[in-house]
């Protein structure tokens, strides 16, 4: 019995550290709607700064003072980031801020290695909480007890702050209706800055408090960020109590789960999230999202098919691209194939995001399923390449059909997180089912047949399929189905009233996007000659998101440019510099500032401004639509 109580307490201690970080993320998202990918980076910075301070300052006061000072210093950095960077892009399309915070995260990962060196750092134990307390023969670390108390204390302070202060009232009001708060004359800028500062403070404090238990290292951010997001979503976005309950739930399930299934930790949080979101679409304590005032995909410039001239230009560009083998070497051609494959992958996600208004955080699942489809068909069933290429993506289709059915029941960030959960479940199956998938050692030897093996042949194959994919998706965008899909995106209510079955349309779109991603994955398997669980991992899903956002989410096929720019730059930087993440992150941040609608989106509106002297008209139209919602 004593063992179970101690295991429960251990789970509570884990929950407390998780909650500290999660609460900050939840507050930031609730008010600013920023999906703050950099939250993990702030957590890590908190740990690093606290390490330095606690090593310099001596005694108990030095330790605790160092922890708090570290959190304050990092919060100040957060304020700087918010004022210099994020303020510029609050009005950019939804999720665009994700791009900025993603760039920051990349930079911080390299910066901490530059500043603090590559070694894992062991911080001091907390003065006064070094040992353990005997509990019926079981040892409970006293630091765990400290954390168990701290969690609810922070929860209480936050509750008081939000319920009993004027600032808290304003924050809650802004969480519910930002525009109304602004209309009532509240200075939004400072409200947002202060909320961001509080959120970052909590993240950094969470990181700093890990010093006595953890090793400070440059991978801390990625370790925590996804899990924290999951906790926030399980609890319900913007709900602090929800985040607390979710942290306890997840930690306890893990603490007791490993007693029965020692391998459960790798997937547990995602399983819990999938179940919770299917049963309660807005998390445990969340409320249905208020209808968006600014519809996400509503463009100032209505979409139109390409004019004849533009079609010729596109064709000419394709011909130029197809002529590459005439003057480029094998390496350039292989990189070209990879870029073409990522163009397919990015446009498939772009279709879902911009036309369907459904941002998926787990799109790599279908890419990976396509790749594994190829591996199974070509390697195990021994089918010829053409047949495999045609059938392989069907695994992506199957996955998209099953998961899409559940995912489209949700919307917004909940939709995104459910797709992430599904992707992680698929990933963990590929990772764990060693006898079939080879586990993380993957499936090797999936090379193309002779007719496609040469770099130029494979390049033409990839380029041809990429062009085909872009054309087909564009045709779908401007087909009746595409219009119906845009209708469900722009106004669920009105589309329903004219007889559009929104869920069904969205489900179909999800399957189309998943299959297209599967095609990309299938080609990728042949390009690399091997398939790994990495092919469906979170980093790949994030890459796809970045490509779409970089190109411009409000365009018809901006993802093409986003994919080319991001992938080419990534490959080039990794090859050329030691600090590729720092440079790439910096570049992403610069693009965010310079092209607040994405590269293509911003260029398009610049051209339209030049060509059209009365740009005000569509804007007025949109605002009317907004009022009518």
């Amino acid at each position: 019995m004593a063992f179970y109580i101690v295991q429960f307490l251990t789970g509570l201690a884990s929950a407390a550290s998780l909650f500290l970080v999660a609460s900050g993320l939840s507050i930031i998202f609730g008010v600013t709607r920023i999906v703050n990918f950099a939250h993990g980076a702030f957590y890590m910075l908190g740990a690093y700064v606290a390490f330095t301070l606690t090593e310099r300052l001596s005694g108990a006061l030095g330790f605790w003072g160092g922890i708090v000072a570290a959190a304050l210093i990092v919060a100040a950095i957060g304020v700087l980031v918010e004022m210099v960077l994020l303020r510029r892009i609050y009005h950019a399309p939804e999720l665009f801020q994700l791009l900025a915070t993603f760039g920051l995260t990349l930079m911080v990962e390299d910066l901490v290695v530059l500043i603090w060196g590559p070694d894992d750092l062991l911080g001091r134990r907390a003065p006064g909480f070094k040992g353990a307390v005997d509990f019926f023969g079981q040892n409970v670390p006293s630091y765990d007890l400290f954390l168990i108390v701290l969690g609810p204390v922070v929860l209480g302070i936050l509750w008081l702050l939000f319920q009993r202060t004027r600032w808290g009232v304003l924050v809650r009001a802004a969480t519910q209706d930002r525009d109304m708060v602004a209309a009532l004359g509240v200075n939004q800028k400072w409200l947002f800055t202060s909320v961001f500062a509080l959120g970052v403070f909590l993240a950094a404090l969470g990181g700093a408090l890990q010093i006595p238990r953890d090793a400070v290292n440059h991978a801390m951010d990625l370790r925590v960020i996804v899990e924290v997001f999951v906790v926030v979503v399980i609890g319900g976005l913007g709900s602090i109590i929800g985040a607390f309950v979710a942290a306890v739930l997840v930690s306890e399930l893990n603490a007791f789960g490993i007693l029965i299934f020692p391998k459960i930790s790798i997937i547990l949080v995602f399983l819990v999230m999938a179940v919770v979101l299917i049963v309660r679409p807005w998390g445990l304590f969340g409320k249905p999202e208020a209808p968006a005032r600014r519809t996400p995909g509503l463009t100032v410039n209505p979409w139109r098919p390409l004019t004849t001239n533009e079609r010729f230009a596109a064709l000419a560009a394709l011909v130029v691209a197809a002529a590459l083998p005439l003057f480029a070497g094998n390496y350039a051609l292989t990189v070209g194939s990879e870029i073409a494959i990522f163009v397919i992958f990015a446009v498939s996600l772009h279709f879902l995001m911009s036309v369907g208004g459904l941002a998926s955080f787990g799109h790599a699942a279908y890419f990976g399923l396509g790749a594994y489809g190829i591996a199974f068909l070509a390697k195990m069933a021994g089918l010829p390449m053409i047949v495999s290429l045609l059938l392989g993506p069907l695994l992506g289709l199957l996955g998209a059909a099953v998961f899409g059915f559940f995912a489209v029941q949700l919307s917004g960030v909940y939709f995104a997180m459910l797709t992430l959960a599904f992707a992680q479940i698929v990933w963990s199956i590929a990772f764990q089912w060693v006898s079939v998938t080879g586990g993380d050692n993957g499936i090797l030897g999936v090379w193309p047949e002779k007719w496609a093996a040469g770099p130029s042949h494979f390049y033409w194959l990839s380029l041809g399929i990429a062009a085909l994919a872009v054309v087909i998706l564009r045709i779908i965008v401007f087909s009746p189905f595409g219009y119906a899909l845009r209708a469900t995106r722009d106004s669920p209510l009105r589309s329903e009233s004219i007889g559009i079955n929104a869920k069904r349309i969205q489900w179909t779109a999800f399957v189309i996007a998943g299959t297209t991603a599967g095609v990309a994955g299938a080609l990728f398997a042949y390009l690399k000659g091997s398939v790994f669980p990495d092919n469906m991992g979170i980093p790949l899903s994030v890459d796809a998101l970045v490509m779409v956002l970089l190109g411009g989410v409000e365009t018809v096929s901006g993802a093409v440019i986003g994919a080319i720019v991001y992938k080419a730059l990534n490959i080039w930087l990794v090859s050329q510099t030691e600090w590729s993440k720092l440079v790439l992150g910096g570049f992403v941040v610069l693009i965010v500032v310079a092209f607040p609608k994405g590269i293509v989106g911003t260029l398009e509106s610049m051209m339209n401004r030049r060509g059209n002297s009365t740009p005000a008209k569509p804007a007025i139209l949109t605002s009317r639509i907004e009022t009518a919602e």
Binding site: F3, T10, G11, S14, P118, D119, D120, L122, K130, A132, N139, V140, P141, D144, R213, D214, A215, N217, R223, A255, I258, P262, K263, S265, I266, L306, E310, A313, A314, A317, L318, A321, L324, F327, G329, N330, Y331, V335, G336, E338, I339, F431, Q432, D440, G442, L444, P455, K528, G529, S530, F532, D534, V556, I561, I564, A568, V574, S575, K581, V600
Partner: protein
């Protein structure tokens, strides 16, 4: 209109990469790939190690008069990116051979690439047995003692312990899984009387150490096998120390004696663990002294195991290139099979039968000295003594 961008973008993107870098006749290039950005704690000393080797090789007149050049690329910890890098090295840099890699899946990906493109590949660090056995191919050689070899070295010591009830803690991925599997198999052969009472599989890099330590303690084992390393190891040790998990229990641990993983434990280093590692401070051989002196003179820092691996990878590669006196992959393979090379750990051989080198490892016990973790009573175990019989290896490895 978008079309302009597609073409222009592709053209710009590729023009930069198109420049073919022809090998100058006066130099020989080796293409090196490793997870520099993902695992700097290991790869920084590793880089220093191979840079020292390049300097020494060229100071001694290069390779049959030609200058040795190493072109190094980062794989970011992703197999797919490692292949992109390998392709660049082979296609545009025209390297004579590939070398390096740390993670097992990346090692396997590059090895498969090498097999497909018929390029010589000297795997430096990946520990998986598959790279020389079940998925071995004729173009791939491996330097470091494999999972099997390190397990066999540890089992030799572990079998002497009286402990009968064993628990295992290992990261949940191929390395951890196969380390535990081999250890269990070899251990049960030597000691049919032991019981495996618990196993814990925390995700790599994400151990929730408290519950794991509690769960292992609840099974009340007499001895524990640990395979975690890096930040996970630090967390496990800290929780274990606080909760008294290691008190009166024997622990056998993979890699923990390597300075990369032992040094961060500082004054929390648990005493008496049986580990494999690299006690650079306690090795008194002329070969190692020479290496140590050169390394410390150049970097003003002590070597980690990564330094040895990096150093020996390039030293071996140079010996191979010199013996083959050609960059033809077939000749390189012929030169490597059975090749004997000097190393800081003494002479090693690249076996013909499975392309594994006989580089060994040090087995010893952890101890605390002046608030720092060290390895004591360490003995060098030659790799050749810890490999299965040739008949068994033949069965494990596919025919070329």
């Amino acid at each position: 209109m978008r079309g302009y961008f597609v073409g222009a973008g592709l053209a710009i993107a590729l023009a930069g990469m198109a420049g073919p870098a022809m090998a100058q006749s006066g130099e020989i290039k080796i293409g090196e790939i490793n997870s520099y950005s993902l695992l700097p704690a290991f790869t920084e000393p590793y880089r220093k190690g191979w840079q020292l080797a390049v300097e020494e090789v060229n100071a001694a007149g290069g390779i049959n008069g030609k200058k040795l050049v190493v072109i190094s690329k980062d794989d970011g910890g992703k197999p797919a990116d490692a292949q992109t890098a390998a392709n660049e090295l082979v296609s545009s840099e025209n390297v004579a051979m590939l070398a390096g890699t740390f993670l097992s899946n990346i090692g396997l990906a590059v090895s498969d690439f090498a097999n497909q493109k018929k390029v010589f590949f000297l795997a430096a660090e990946p520990l998986t047995d598959a790279i020389t056995w079940s998925k071995g191919n004729k173009y791939t050689f491996r330097l470091r003692p494999s999972n099997y070899m390190q397990a066999a070295m540890l089992v030799e010591e572990a079998a002497k312990l009286p402990a009968k009830r064993w628990a295992t803690i290992a990261p949940n991925y191929e390395y951890g899984q196969s380390a535990v599997a081999v250890f269990k198999k070899l251990m049960s052969e030597k000691r049919p009387d032991i019981q495996w009472v618990d196993e814990q599989w925390p995700p790599q890099g994400k151990i929730d150490a408290g519950p794991v330590v509690q769960a292992v303690a609840a099974a009340n084992p007499e001895a524990i096998l640990n395979v975690t390393f890096g930040a996970d190891l630090v967390k496990l040790v800290r929780e274990g120390n606080t909760r008294g998990l290691f008190k009166d229990r024997k622990v056998v641990s993979f890699l923990t004696g390597e300075p990369e993983y032992l040094d961060p434990l500082k004054d929390e280093t648990p005493e008496g663990w049986i580990v494999t590692g690299y006690p650079w401070y306690a090795i008194k051989t002329p070969e190692h002294d020479a290496f140590l002196k050169a390394y410390q003179a150049k970097y003003n820092d002590y070597p980690r195991l990564g330094s040895i691996v990096g150093y020996q990878t390039i030293k071996s590669a140079a010996a191979i290139l010199a013996k083959a006196n050609s960059t033809d992959p077939e000749k390189l393979i012929a030169a490597t099979e059975g090749l004997q090379v000097a190393s800081p750990f003494g002479e090693i051989t690249f076996r013909k039968i499975d392309h594994q080198s006989t580089l060994g490892a040090f087995v010893g016990k952890t101890a605390l000295k002046d608030g720092k973790g060290v390895m004591v009573d360490s003995v060098y175990r030659k790799g050749a003594d810890y490999l299965p019989s040739d008949a068994e290896v033949e069965k494990l490895r596919p025919k070329d």
